[in-house]
Amino acid sequence: METKKIFIGFCVIFAILAIPLMTLGADPNPPLKTGVLKIGASIPLSGPMSPWGIPEAEVASIYADLVNQDGGIPIGDTIYKITFTVSDDKATPDGMKASADRLINTEKVNAVVGGWLPPIATIMGREGTAANIPVIHMVRETPGIQVVSPQFPVMFDLGWPQIQAIKVYIPKLKSAALPKVKTIALICKDDTLGRTMLDLIKSLKQDWEKNHGLEMVYDAMFPITAQDMTPWLSKIAALPKKADLIFAASATVPNLAMIAKQSHEIGLKVPVVTVPNLTDVGEFIKICGYEASQYVYTSGCAPWDFPKTSPKFKDMSNRIRKVWKDKHGSELTFGDSFPWCANHLAAYVSAVKLANSIKTEDIVRTLETKPIEHFYGTSVASGEKTYGIKRMLTYDATISKIVGREQKPVVTLAGEPIP
């Protein structure tokens, strides 16, 4: 009888001691719920715009993967991982409509980021508004985050860091690198953007002459279908006052290649300054010739070079660069690989984190009120809600020169007060 009592007592004591011991091995924090954020992007993956579209889609995709690898996006008690879907819109209106349909109605994405071809992209804005999901798009002009149109309250224009400061671009370049330049020949392609640029620069004629010693000796527009730049370059070459610099304020990469090449050929060995980014410097040099290419200045905004980019995003952009290099063997150029898509995805992720919610109303409110961090610094809403074709060009830029077979930064306009 005695042994039985001792035995039971021992069991009870053991049980009382053991239970707390057992819980020591248990996880103090119970596992979080997991969720999926389906993000869509409509990019031209086929057709003539695809050289820019394809790298954009890939860079954004790499970024989404890295965000997931870093642990996803924690909202409340749920960890969200991003599923990134890209749809080909072929850069045509019906392609855009089909793309909007696919992403918003078929794939049922939580948000659409990126996109090209304003204003056709408003097709996406309309579908997004009907389905009440945020659309973060790129246009070229806003001074801050803007609602694209009162009719599409969920469609936000993030803008992109582009050449701005057309007003100070050439004067800055002159004082930084080309002090001997006194005369400029101006040439633009004949479309809305080109005409706006030309008008804007012509309005600065007095200012440039008086304050910077820059005289505009020629200005012209060329049709967008023109392949050969000879007619205009020969006129520039025949000017009584020789032009020290050719400013192709609005031109496509093929135009730029022709201007650089043909001006060099006819003996106009002067700096050719322009705006479009180059997707492939090596090929560009092959098209216009090595010697001619050494005169070319373009604007470039790689996040890893950009002064306003936060260390966090600089680091992320370098990680993306590494993934790209490991996969392709070549360097990721800054030429249009970040602004259209990855940057908008970054803005969306920032907005979601700040709002601590994936609900559209919360994200929209956040975009309209809070500072949103992305690859090119931080943007705040400008409060405007109109879509205008008139370009205002309000971002900072780094002007780079082709040196050897690379592009090297010459002068940065970031943080400068723009008159």
Partner: protein, 325 residues
């Protein structure tokens, strides 16, 4: 090629009609979005294909059919965005405008011989497109955008695909009936004679230009109508939406389906093309390559188009024989 269809009883016909109309009426509720989109595209390209085919009937190969989609679309855009016209007015006016352009241009170019007409129609299409891309009033290269959504009519709304499904199918039925009647009437026979041999027809006293222009104008009317509706359905248009590739689609649709039948050919061809286009796996370049190879393959293995499958099927079953050409 004339086909004699197997006869069906009136009850069967009514039932079939009811089923089809019922399907169309409620498609927007149960059909997945992707398929609604394919339906709309199918209706659009069937109509355009028929329009192309009727020009072929009178002996001309139009390689620039997209120009009428373009003119119709931009006319609708200008009327609605700049002149604040209501949708239905814009729709009809655009189609009429398109016909007028076709009348003027057709009177000049339809007298050209086969190959010349082909290239001129192609070049005309490009020239119109480039001119629009250069004109600011028409949006230049950025295009026209934010087309107003038509107001709802009773229970039919245009803010979803419902109204558009109805509209495009309605236009398709209208076009199909018109072309069917033309084909099976005296006009159709005249077209066939002109198409087969214009010189011979002329020697019989048929002044063929009148009929050619007539066919061209009617074709332009329907294509313009579709183009106008398309522009408003999409919500935005730009010159890139009317390139040579789109003219190519009009031809593909009609020839894949079979040029023998003015209605069924394009209907079948459009179905094949749109399903193929939507479901083709995406890899850069592969789409064009596969589309190109498909075209070549179909031309070789199914030269009379998809409807010829029906004939061989009927023949095998011992059904009514096909009346030869």
């Amino acid at each position: 090629m004339k086909m004699t269809l197997t006869k069906t009883s009136p009850a069967m016909k009514v039932l079939t009609a009811v089923l089809i109309l019922g399907f169309i009426a409620f498609a927007h509720t149960f059909l997945p979005h992707r398929w609604q989109h394919i339906c709309i595209m199918w209706a659009i390209w069937s109509t355009v294909g028929m329009g192309w085919l009727v020009i072929l009937r009178v002996g001309q190969f139009s390689a620039g059919q997209a120009v009428f989609l373009c003119i119709g679309g931009y006319a609708a855009g200008v009327l609605m965005l700049k002149l604040n016209a209501p949708f239905w007015v814009a729709l009809v006016l655009s189609a009429i405008f398109c016909s007028v352009v076709a009348l003027i241009v057709g009177a000049i170019i339809l007298r050209l011989k086969g190959l010349y007409f082909l290239v001129i129609s192609l070049v005309f299409s490009e020239i119109v497109r480039l001119t629009i891309a250069a004109t600011d009033y028409l949006g230049a290269s950025e295009g026209l955008w934010d087309m107003p959504i038509p107001k709802k009519i009773g229970p039919v709304v245009f803010s979803t695909k419902q109204g558009w499904l109805y509209l495009f199918v309605f236009i398709l039925i209208l076009a199909a009936l018109t072309f069917w009647r033309m084909e099976n009437s005296r006009t159709g026979k005249i077209y066939a004679y002109i198409g087969a041999s214009p010189d011979l027809a002329q020697s019989f006293g048929l002044y063929f230009m009148k009929y050619r222009v007539q066919a061209y104008v009617i074709s332009a009317f329907f294509t313009g109508l579709v183009g106008a509706a398309l522009a408003v359905y999409l919500g935005a248009i730009n010159p890139e939406g009317f390139t040579f590739y789109y003219s190519l689609v009009a031809q593909i649709v009609a020839i894949l389906g079979g040029v023998g039948s003015i209605v069924w050919g394009p209907l079948l061809g459009s179905l094949l093309y749109n399903v193929f286009d939507e479901y083709l796996v995406y890899i850069p370049g592969a789409r064009s390559l596969l589309m190109g190879l498909l075209l070549i393959a179909v031309i070789f293995f199914l030269p009379e188009g998809l409807i010829s499958l029906k004939n061989s099927f009927l023949k095998k079953k011992g059904g009514n024989p096909v009346v030869p050409h």
